[in-house]
Amino acid sequence: MITKQRIGVVLLGFFALLISTVSSIVAGTEKPLSITVGSKAFTESVILGEMLKHLAGQTGIATHHQRELGGSRVLWNALLSGEIDAYPEYNGTLLQEILVKENLKTEAELKQALTERGLRMTTPLGFNNTYALGMKAELAERFKIHTISDLKNHPEFVLGFSNEFMDRADGWPGLQQRYQLPQKKVRGLDHNLAYRGINSGSLQAIDLYATDAEIAYYKLRTLEDDLNYFPVYNAVILYRADLEQRAPEVVVMFNQLAGSIDALTMSKMNFQVKQNNEPESTVAAGFLQQTLNMDVDYQVQTVWQRFVKHSGEHLLLVGISLSAAIIFAVPLGILAAHNERLGSIVLSVAGIVQTIPALALFVFMIPLLGIGGPPAIMALFLYSLLPIIRNTYAGIKDIPPAIIESAQALGLPSRARLRIVELPLATRAILAGIKTSAVINVGTASLSALIGAGGYGQPILTGIRLDNIGLILEGAIPAAVLALLVQALFELIERGLLPKGLRIKALGAR
């Protein structure tokens, strides 16, 4: 009895230790100054986000880039709540989407609206990522075409437009009306085919976004929208006003970008990332070096490095939570096996914990442990308990009573009996529980990306959001391999731990 109480006390102590360790990881030493920038889930935004990261990094302040967050609203809210300090945005998006209800007309009104919300924006970075018409630069030069109005003189041109642009009232119909364009040969076709067509010369002009990667690739000229038909989508940096107090040097850095990126440059950068598969980080650093003569000390995130990073995060999540689970669950299982009443309580509680959906568990835990690793580890820890507890319990219960009796007759006190007889004989069952837990843990750890703990879940979630099977597999395959490795590891441990005497088979079973 005394022994059991003591075990209980030790367990409680352990728990307290774990919690305090975890929360100290969270709290850190009084939150040192650090900057978090965000970006949307498309190439251009990620490149700009990397630039912000590099720029802020130049000041020596620790900077983090939350890449590929889900949509303007998410970033906007994250900025408002202070989860991020800055992100690249388009003034068009602010006017037409986020603040559409405000009916803002002028730049000044927009600035005012932002200020009311504790936000600031830089002057435009220099490019306007809106619809545009494009021609082969060579051809345009030949016919001296610079503006859309110039097209009026060439009714013989064949135009190719994406279906969307063809159909939308604010697409071709409106454009034609505004500019009174005379072309009759207008084809609706796939955007990629349009690029091929203009390259081969079967089309003379197409619609595009002003910073499409293909502009640089196919050497196109975007025609000036001289009648201001298309809405303006100027890129700006949005940041929190309090950054001007907290880290004025960072704001200064951000403002250096103003006016420094024209559409062609942006297109080229998009091209480098999309077609040449250069990492966004490299491209952003290259730009800063060339334009601002800034020597950026950055880390390239190749697929391999992403893999290494995710593996590290995943291993940390799994390693800590699984180890903690083993340390807690095996004693709990022993306790359960030795005391029926306590046993049914322990198993019930572990069962209840297991039914809490990960999402709900995260919601409950964020107020306690914040976001990132600690709540994820706590959740994984909790989810890993049941299989181990239950199998430890079943393994000990399954030991033939004659063997227990023989250990008692020898005079082994109960703790020694546990160590020398019961645990070795229950090894196979306990390890089976641990293996099950480990695999479930590796799988569930992928969910941790939901609360910013990274790991293989990152590419999986991105992949699910972007409907990109390649990205899903970039996370799913290593996760599966990791599960196999962890199983193999415990197979090895079993080879070491499982007493040899238990591996003698029934001879010649036939």
């Binding site: 250990a407 007759a409 020898l410 005079g411 006190p413 020398i420 007493p499 005497g501 003698i504």
Partner: protein, 250 residues
Amino acid sequence: MLVISQISKRYGDSPALASTDLQVSTGETLVLIGPSGCGKSTLLRLIAGLIQPDAGSITFEGSQLSSENIFQIRQRMGYVIQEGGLFPHLSVRDNVTVMARYLRRDARWIDSRLNELTQLVQLPAEMLKRFPAELSGGQRQRVSLMRALMLEPDLLLLDEPLGALDPMIRYELQQELKAIFSQLCKTVIMVTHDIAEAAFFGQTLVLMRDGHIIQAGPFKELAQTPAEPFVERFISAQREPMAQLIEALK
């Protein structure tokens, strides 16, 4: 040394041991005999504290057995369980020395004691590294005996310790054990079905039936003044086949 008074035990509604008194003094060898199922093993398990008596008490060197002192006392007992009870996951060596190592006895002492016992029970030394599943029945029984003797206990509880041995080894072991018991003044309670063995070891024989002690005393007494006809029948059950055998061997 050991005083058993008024002890009784039932399993469910079937009595295994009726109210029983028994005293064993230091250095005495007491042999329990009786029909299968009469409660011999039950008595030994009560003494070892493996099961709790329904009534009565057991006193070991003046102190009554209780859950506080049982671990202490067990370390001064050696018990050969009827089924052997070897640990399947431990080698022969580990089975024999597990308790000595738990008590942190000197490693050299353990080795030499192990050696001694191996020779005593005539177990080939290469078997020390085998596991119980890799031994023959008689070998396993000898390992159980080694394990019980290992820590030189004061009290030995032996439940048919030689039942699975061939007559040659059995005879030799009988001689050796008896010598050891008297030299080292061991107190022994032994169960056997071999009346000759009982007569050989026992200063006192205790004949049980259906959980009762029918008669206790030296072999001569049981043979010559049986308390009941049953005693005579039991004692002499082996006589006929033996006589035939001895006849044939002449």
